[in-house]
């Protein structure tokens, strides 16, 4: 049979990853692994019931501005580490008893539930979930009873939180996985996800509402996908276990039961091994794109349809292939087996003003059909909007079996560092030691009353090469979350205009801020500069 002269090599034909001709070369960040000297010594341990999960959280629990870390331990106890570093220094942490050291923890997310200005912690577990009230000084206590939180008894693997309009107390969504007692025939045994809404107007939770149908959630995110002012709940589900399931988007309206968007509403049926959600307004049109991790090809979803009509219907098209982020197989070595992706996060690791994408990779367990050595991805966004793999060049291409992860500025030098939680091996931590990165600023948001950290707000920054918009969320990723400083790369801009669209839709004033600085923006007040120490 005659054949094309051109050999279509699978991997070579995949993605136009290189920046377009004439574009400036991408700045590859330089990460230095400091696991051995960091003081971090955590393993996500356990067998079948811990094949998912393995989260890590970053939050500041002693008001020093530095992010402290909490790791899920699986069948071992969770471990808390106080950040003992100094600005710009090597990364250094000290293990410290915090009250958070529960066993059977799969995931962990920080948020200020009771609005007292002290970070609280959600612990997802195999068994009873626990909300932990922050006491200050990095001490925490169980608050299930005090807050009326029913932790249930499930295999919990996903979490998201929002403050519904007018609420004085948050709404928490918990995603649950398989019925772990169905060991001989677990398929089709997805257990109900739970919605913990406030009890009337009280500062406590009502009995949880089952979000039926549930399809084995591995990531959830409250997100205002159409900028309606009201976040809806996206859920990424693992098709390995559901029957009749798909990815989900629940419509939320205050005081009403959530309702699924359907095909009649424009929602397109998508069935993947959904494991993690990351969002960012990549194309700067004001609406977030969503990256969904899976096995083999990953998805990058953008609203489709005619301009002006898009926000009426949650119809998404997959632009992963065109954007170069399918990340479907290892980019190192000669393995042809597909990848397994978990946590994902968009953030600007080289401060060029464009969100980059980190993906934690790792085989489920010992699945021979999938790559055993599966390096994490660090995909740098070019000016044209496509992405280029730089995990190996940047020094973060670990082939440990990764699960949760975080990009966060751990030493307050303006560069995002990296933490990755691994299954069956030690967590790893890298310091971003780039010397040619762009300028930056970092912001904390504060408002009075409930929802002090302004979850649901949009932070808008006009730098170079243009406007960046960040939705302030709690949830998503894979079992991992953070609070504290929100980072923006500015390119070469020495100043940036910044404003906040607060959760109730009120737009703050544009403020011109100096680059390479930290700011606290309290609602209705001028931004206040902050310096470590």
């Amino acid at each position: 049979m005659l054949r094309f002269a051109i050999l279509l090599a699978v991997m070579g034909a995949v993605a136009p990853l290189r920046a377009a001709a004439g574009e400036p070369a991408l700045t590859v960040p330089r990460f230095v692994e400091e696991t051995a000297t960091s003081g971090i010594d955590n393993v996500y341990a356990g067998d079948w019931e811990y094949m998912a999960g393995g989260g890590v959280a970053a939050f500041d629990c002693n008001d020093d501005g530095f992010s402290d870390l909490l790791f899920a331990g699986g069948e071992d106890r969770a471990k808390f580490y106080r950040n003992a570093g100094a600005p710009g220094s090597a990364l250094r942490f000290e293990a410290q008893e915090s009250g958070l050291e529960l066993d059977r923890v799969t995931g962990t997310y920080p948020l200020d539930i009771d609005g007292d200005g002290i970070t609280d912690i959600m612990l997802l577990r195999v068994g009873e979930n626990v909300v932990m009230r922050g006491l200050g000084g990095c001490r925490f206590e169980r608050a299930n009873e005090a807050w009326g939180f029913d932790g249930g008894d499930a295999w919990s693997t996903a979490f998201a939180a929002t403050w519904e309009h007018g609420a004085r107390w948050p709404t928490l969504a918990v995603g649950n996985y398989i019925d772990r007692r169905e060991d001989a025939f677990p398929w089709g045994s997805c257990t109900d996800n739970w919605l913990h809404r406030p009890e009337n107007d009280r500062r406590r939770f009502a009995a949880p509402l089952a979000l039926k149908p549930s399809h084995c959630a591995l990531s959830m995110l409250f997100t205002d996908w159409n900028r309606s002012g009201t976040p809806d709940l996206r859920i990424s589900n693992d098709r390995e276990y559901y029957k009749g399931g798909q990815e989900q988007l629940w419509r939320f309206e205050a005081g009403r039961a959530p309702a699924l968007y359907t095909e009649a509403d424009g929602w397109k049926r998508l069935r993947i091994w959904g494991m993690g959600i990351a969002s960012s307004d990549l194309d700067r049109d004001g609406y977030p794109e969503y990256f969904l991790t899976s096995m083999a090809d990953n998805k990058l979803q953008a609203l489709s349809g005619a301009e002006g009509a898009r926000t009426a219907r949650p119809a998404y098209e997959d632009i992963a292939y065109a954007s170069g982020v399918t990340a479907h197989r290892p980019y190192l070595g000669d393995q042809v087996k597909p990848s397994t992706a978990w946590h994902a996060q968009f953030d600007d690791v080289n401060n060029d003003g464009r969100a980059d994408l980190f993906i934690a990779k790792g085989n489920v367990a010992e699945m021979p059909d999938f790559a055993a050595k599966d390096p994490n991805n660090l995909l740098l966004q070019s000016a044209a909007g496509s992405f280029q793999e730089a995990g190996d060049k940047a020094g973060v291409a670990s082939v440990a079996i990764a699960r949760g992860a975080l990009l966060a500025d751990l030493n307050l030098d303006g560069l995002l560092d990296l933490v990755v939680a691994n299954r069956w091996s030690k967590a790893q931590i890298w310091r971003n030691a780039s010397t040619d990165a762009g300028r930056w600023l970092q912001v904390k948001l504060r408002q009075d009353g409930a929802n002090r950290e302004a979850v649901g707000a949009w932070l808008e920054v006009k730098g170079e090469p243009g406007m960046t918009r960040r939705e302030i969320t709690v949830g998503g990723g894979h079992a991992s979350g953070q609070s504290g400083w929100w980072h923006a790369g500015l390119g070469d801009a020495r100043q940036a205009d910044v404003r906040v669209i607060w959760p109730d839709g009120t737009a703050g004033e544009w403020q011109r801020l100096e680059s390479n600085r930290f700011y606290v923006i309290e609602r209705g007040r001028p931004a206040r500069g902050w310096s470590p120490g």
Binding site: L8, A9, A184, P186, A296, K337
Partner: protein, 440 residues
Amino acid sequence: MKAFRAGVAALLIAVSALCGAGSAMAGDLGDARAQHVVRNWYRLMLELVRHTPTYSPPVASRSFAYVGVTAFEAVAGGSAQLQSLAGQLNGLAPAPQRPAGAHDDAVLLNAALTQVMENLFANTGPTGQRAMTAFGERLSAGAAAGVPDDVVARSRTHGAALARHILDWSEADGGAVVENMGFPAAYELTPGPAHWVPTSRIAQQQTPLLPQWGENRTLVMPDGAACPLPAPPDYSEEPGSAFYDEAREVYDTVNSLTDEQRAVARFWSDDPMLSPTPPGHWLSIALQVLEQSEADLERDVDVLARVGVALSDSFIACWNAKYAFDLVRPVTYIRRVIDPQFEPPLITPPFPEYPSGHSTQSAAAASVLTDLFGADVAFEDATHAEDGLAPRSYASFREAAQEAGISRLYGGIHFRAAVERGLDQGRCVGRYVNALRTRN
């Protein structure tokens, strides 16, 4: 608990209850225990197919054949009614004879099926491995309860020997090793607009699935080319040409789908990783009809082996033809020639169009089931009930196969010629299988 899961639980309980009734090495009670072993493993197999990434439809059909032959030979070795398939299936030598002394079919079958399943599904994930272990242990304990120790030991030993015999035979057929879920690292596209090009934006699927599968050793057909097809209509973009008209039919049908047609398309969609696959759908039909007809053990293994062989050979025949003609998919042609915005309702499979695999294997399975049960056996198909798709009823296996075939046109993934010639090809495969002698 949902229907299918309830069914499995009930079967496991039934095994225990039967075993608790006392020793039964032969007779109706022993047959019933053995039958429960077979049906439980089949139900687990249909689930593992769905959850093992290597298991595209051709790969699934292969395993269905080898598991079916294993069960058949295990029972035939102790049956005066059944005739071994050795010498009838390509390359299958006579199985080891049962040693002297009593054997228990349930124990023997469970030992053989456990070993074959663990081999064929060695690549399944941790949950599948855990399930196989749990199933094996429970079935093993249930099957052996009340059976004398020496009979249990003898039966297990022979079951293991039989499994090894089947596995040794299977490993040289060309389909034992599947890399990267069946997508080759490199592939040369056939030049010209008539030929297949990738249809998705999935990076892994930029080469077609299992291009060498049509060269595998067949089971009962002489080889993969034994059921040849006429060429599809000549490629043309000229309105009024046969090829254009076929594409236009797909386009017009998709754009005016009735609710019934849409339901048909979805019912037979049988997507890999989201269902038991098309061959699994027909195996599910066979299991449902066996239950409906209150079949005994020998009938079970006869039907399951024949259907498995038919499914496996039909995929080899179909793949042989697919890569010989290497025809473009409707979505490619229609977007190029008729409407760039065309969206087929079903996911277009990542391999050439002609003939329709679902049509070939449906007609093959239907031919075999018709031969075994009759031309006018009505049945209800609840394969996808747990996935929320209502059962559908058919007056005959042929009717179901015809519907499976045309569903691919409704789904926008096949032209009519691929459906009709695929059904023809399947009937050809079925004739080979129906010529097997399984009864003395």
